[in-house]
Point group: C2
Chain length 348, copies 2
Amino acid sequence: MAKSKSKVGIGDIAREVNLSKTTVSYALRGKQDQVNLSPETVEKIHQAAKRLGYRPNYWARALVSKETKSVGVLFNDLTGSAAHEITRGIQEVLGFHGYETMLSVSFWEEAKCRKELKLMLEKRVDGIIATPQPICEDSYAAAVDEGVPVVFIGDYSVSSKIPSVVLDPEDAIYKLLNHLHQVGHRDIGFLTVDFNSPILTEREQVFKCGLKKLGLECKDNWIHRAELANEISVFENVRNLMSQEDRPSALVCISDPVAMQALGELARLEISVPDTLAVASIGNIEGSDHPFFSLTTVDECRVDLGREAARILLKKQDGSYNETPSIRIKGPLITRASTVGASLRPKR
Amino acid sequence: MAKSKSKVGIGDIAREVNLSKTTVSYALRGKQDQVNLSPETVEKIHQAAKRLGYRPNYWARALVSKETKSVGVLFNDLTGSAAHEITRGIQEVLGFHGYETMLSVSFWEEAKCRKELKLMLEKRVDGIIATPQPICEDSYAAAVDEGVPVVFIGDYSVSSKIPSVVLDPEDAIYKLLNHLHQVGHRDIGFLTVDFNSPILTEREQVFKCGLKKLGLECKDNWIHRAELANEISVFENVRNLMSQEDRPSALVCISDPVAMQALGELARLEISVPDTLAVASIGNIEGSDHPFFSLTTVDECRVDLGREAARILLKKQDGSYNETPSIRIKGPLITRASTVGASLRPKR
DNA sequence: CTGTTAGCGCTTTCAC
DNA sequence: GTGAAAGCGCTAACAG
């Protein structure tokens, strides 16, 4: 029976089997070939270890071997399935290379973000993958400064040289615009949120450029900006947009959550989608495909995002490059009922 | 400027300021009063530490102080907002007591679950909070065996003596049943999933008892069981239920995700909710309150779940008790349009 | 007020 | 084939 908390160490095992700590250490780590241990010895050691309830001490190991084979992953948020999918992608490639992952959340709090980052550095992680929080720029920079590579995921930073992996905004917006154009829309509005994020800003800019390239007009009063994380504000903006004399026939939303709220308000206003207003956005989040509101969107490919971020870290590790190769993943357009086909809601 | 990766240790600082490692150690940890250090000395040390880019080594610290003040948190899943809220609750109380949290996910994979648990033990966490995975029972038991307390969250285990914190199934189902009864329903069906989880099983049993207590009939053909994580199966079950001669006027679903899928199918079948069929469930997950389907449900109080789990661990730590006090939290009934008020969908 | 001296549990030369 | 010894970076008695 395992003994409670009474730390069994490698030394105890050595004593038990009348061998040295060295031998035990090798046997326990399966490095028997490195020193040519006899199978019986190895077996005997394993037996004893099990009998005594031995449990290796991660810290002692990390301390002496001076490496942890671990990377820290810091999310701002654990809601939705983003963290799940990103982590999946990260662990898939990192796990394959023998790396362990340390997860944490900042809840969008600056102090928490800094604290978690600091903890990761103290734990001597080999790299960090994070959903960036603009205000903590300097903390990420500090990590890089200390030789711990950082990769941003889902968004990027304009002011720092930290590499990032994001869904290609240009590609995504163009896919949306082309799709809407193809199904006959010429008057396209934009609904975004009041949050100063590089990726969101870029989506907006690309939207404007895209309209021009298609030879469409980009009216200022068709671009609305709701308050962040305030659904009431989204509702209001939708109402304002639709109460204008001159209103668009299609609406591109900055992200799925916003689009889903917009669809809700449109339903309340009894505005038929997509007949009166087609709606499309970016994300393909969990729940964006539902019989009640089936949203045309560009898939963010979050598992791929995770995979690529991990690959960058791996390459940095083995010195494959010291450049900062940001990656932009192109996601597929998912065409659904909010832009084509039967009306989303039964006619009155 | 911080020096890259060239590990600055406490010794380097000591040399720099011509003091002993001990003094430096105390100063750096703010334990100056324990040994009466002069403010100047402390200041000088901090200066030097900053100048050299010193970063404490978590592992070395943990190794010698033989405590980590940390608890491991293992989720089966990171989708939805459950992990977010639970973690919030946990960190709120644990953080207050100086504990750190180590997050991880098993993705419902047995091997991953065991691996993460093992890692936590090797890292010598002081406790573990986990969403149980029935098949890994023995791994949790091993932790307890080694003196590391485990608390289950969100579900429990019938075969082990591990304490748990869950939403009270009896209370929840009764609230649902009473509500439906009050608004006039006498024929109530049940839709669950084919997953052998203690908490889900208990909800079902309580449902049956509850019906009896209300003097209502519990017809076997009103209880349906869909395949786990298979929405098609939920759809089929809803169709089957509603195509019976004799069908209920209300349906209690085992959880919000199931209820939301059911509502989708009901919409397709053009069955009006709540007029023809009222729907209610348990969870109050993100997205259960939406203009398109506003679900009556019992809030799972996930932040509270996290808080309580953390409190149990804390009490175990300081030896307040060695009993296994499982906690059942009573969540409020959230009455929404799927059971009362205007029809969820506009009439045809 | 500060320094000396032991380790924590483990890995890893290097010698036998 | 195996072991002795020297630390990894830090803390904590116990002396001065």
